[in-house]
């Protein structure tokens, strides 16, 4: 479900959506001790990841939430999170073609 709107407004045909908490399915590669998302499915769309541009971790008690900043092969931008206790993935932020 989308909880926020475009902000501040559509620009150059792109818009950003903040605060999404949509469940997604992710194909992940584990390499050199790190997780690397390869592609994910959001609603009925499959997004192929061209580049992981950043990653960071947030601690909620003993639980670790892994975040990834991603560029899709069409240059859309996504942030996704992996909840290591629940073993679930969520989409949290999108910047995509309108």
């Amino acid at each position: 479900m989308l909880h926020a709107h475009t902000f501040p407004k559509e620009r150059d045909g792109y818009f950003m959506i903040e605060s999404i908490h949509d469940p997604i399915e992710v194909i992940t590669m584990f390499t050199a001790g790190r997780m690397k998302p390869i592609r994910f499915r959001w609603k009925s769309k499959t997004v192929k990841i061209a580049k992981v541009t950043g990653d960071w971790v947030r601690h909620e008690g003993q639980n670790k939430i892994h975040y990834f900043a991603l560029l899709a092969d069409n240059a859309d931008y996504y942030e996704i999170r992996y909840d290591s206790r629940e073993m679930t993935w969520q989409l949290t932020r999108v910047w995509m073609e309108g």
Binding site: A4, F7, P8, R11, Y14, M16, E18, S19, T53, G54, D55, W56, V57, R58, H59, E60, G61, Q62, N63, Y67, A69, L71, A75, Y77, E79, W95
Partner: protein, 402 residues
């Protein structure tokens, strides 16, 4: 680091690069800008400005909600890079650090060893000019290493002490590298307005102006006794700053810089004049402050409350308690009493709570209140233990949900 939060967002989402960008607080509430890129700064967008004002100045501005964990992660990567150059790194904020390069191997390789001399980006005791200049290739190497590791740019100031190094870092941005000896510092800053000095805000500038001091040079030459009479200990510090004198050591990260206060503040989504809602926020903020004090092993004695009204008038009031504590109930009780004594019912846009006069729990000479209230201590330990395991949102005070 140059426009740190904004640069991290640009690096992760390259589509943002080249356009005016600000990182702000919660976009659904009325946050303030915490970082603006250089394209946005051309329009007058500055850190500390409300998002709405920034958008008025720059209608094409993109405001991205800030994400502290993201920036801390990059900040730690940068700290790792800096440690390759010297172990004497003092993180000063999430995007600033002082390095004592006096003994840095790369510096010593490039110069004749000079015992006791210091040079570098925020260095130790006074150093000859040639040693400061010898730090330039090291500083360039640091900039390159940071860029390689994070894709971000850094500005470096080199000086014989921390204050001059900090001031030098503001001379040229972004990607700047400025070397200032004490003499060059005085030549550069003495003709400038006192507000250019790090640590002098608008209120102090006005107070200095009343004494006839408007430039850094005038401050440097003003009799010390007069400054101390008017500003107390700060008078001394201001004069030292104007002279470019600072004997503060670079405190390495592994020693830890003593924490003076801990606090949280909150910008409300709309102005609030309901006491019930304001005290609910005070309760939540007190809860966060108490938890942080305990997590980091501190006790404090002075509770402060910060109130900012819809016209941006800020009131800070504090009260010293007769005992050390880290109990949110006492923080809340004191902060709500301060609210009742100092709030006239005007709508508020920001509320803050902090505790100062901190000592490490292990170093406390007087007993804390917990020592005399075993039942309450056990209860708080149980709550902390649940939150340690399941996160802070696992238990929330009913009174904080309004």
């Amino acid at each position: 680091m140059d426009a740190f939060f904004a640069s991290v967002e640009e690096k992760m989402n390259p589509r943002l690069a080249g356009h005016p960008l600000a990182v702000g607080g919660d976009l659904k509430r009325r946050g303030v800008v915490s970082s603006a890129n250089y394209e946005a700064r051309k329009f007058g967008v500055r850190a500390g400005m409300p998002n709405a004002e920034a958008l008025r100045l720059c209608p094409d501005l993109t405001v991205v909600e800030g994400n502290p964990q993201k920036y801390v992660h990059v900040s730690l990567q940068i700290l790792e890079v800096l440690k390759d150059f010297t172990p004497i790194v003092e993180p000063f904020s999430i995007d600033e650090a002082f390095l004592d390069l006096t003994g840095a191997p790369r510096l010593l390789q490039g110069t004749a060893r000079s015992k006791g001399a210091g040079a570098g980006a925020g260095v130790g005791p006074r150093a000859p000019e040639d040693l400061l200049d010898a730090a330039i290739p090291v500083a360039r190497a640091i900039q390159r290493a940071i860029h390689r590791r994070t894709d971000l740019t850094a500005t470096i100031g080199i000086g014989p002490n921390k204050y001059i190094a900090k001031m030098a870092s503001g001379v040229e941005k972004p990607r700047g590298l400025t070397v200032l000896t004490q003499e060059r510092y005085r030549r550069h800053f003495w003709s400038l307005d006192v507000k250019e000095l790090w640590g002098i805000g608008e209120k102090t500038r006005v107070a200095l102006e009343k004494l006839g001091i408007t430039t850094v040079g005038q401050l440097a030459h003003f009799p010390k006794e007069f400054l101390t009479y008017h500003f107390g200990l700060n008078g001394d510090r201001m004069r030292d700053a104007a002279l470019g004198e600072d004997d503060g050591e670079v405190v390495p990260y592994y020693k830890g810089v003593p924490v003076k206060s801990m606090g949280h503040e909150f910008t409300l989504s709309q102005d609030v004049d309901s006491r019930e809602r304001i005290v609910a926020h005070l309760l939540r903020l007190s809860d966060q402050v108490g938890r942080r004090l305990r997590q980091d092993g501190y006790l404090g004695r002075i509770v402060s409350v910060k109130l900012r009204d819809s016209k941006f008038r800020t009131t800070i009031r504090q009260r010293a308690l007769p005992y050390l504590m880290n109990d949110e109930s006492l923080i809340y009780k004191t902060s709500s009493a301060l609210l009742d004594e100092n709030w006239d019912g005007r709508p508020l846009r920001l509320i803050g709570v902090s505790v100062s006069g901190l000592v490490h729990s292990g170093n406390a000479e007087q007993p804390s209140l917990f020592d005399t209230d075993e039942r309450r201590r056990k209860m708080i330990e149980a709550v902390d233990s649940l939150r340690d395991r399941f996160g802070d949102a696992a238990l929330v005070r009913a009174g904080a949900i309004k």
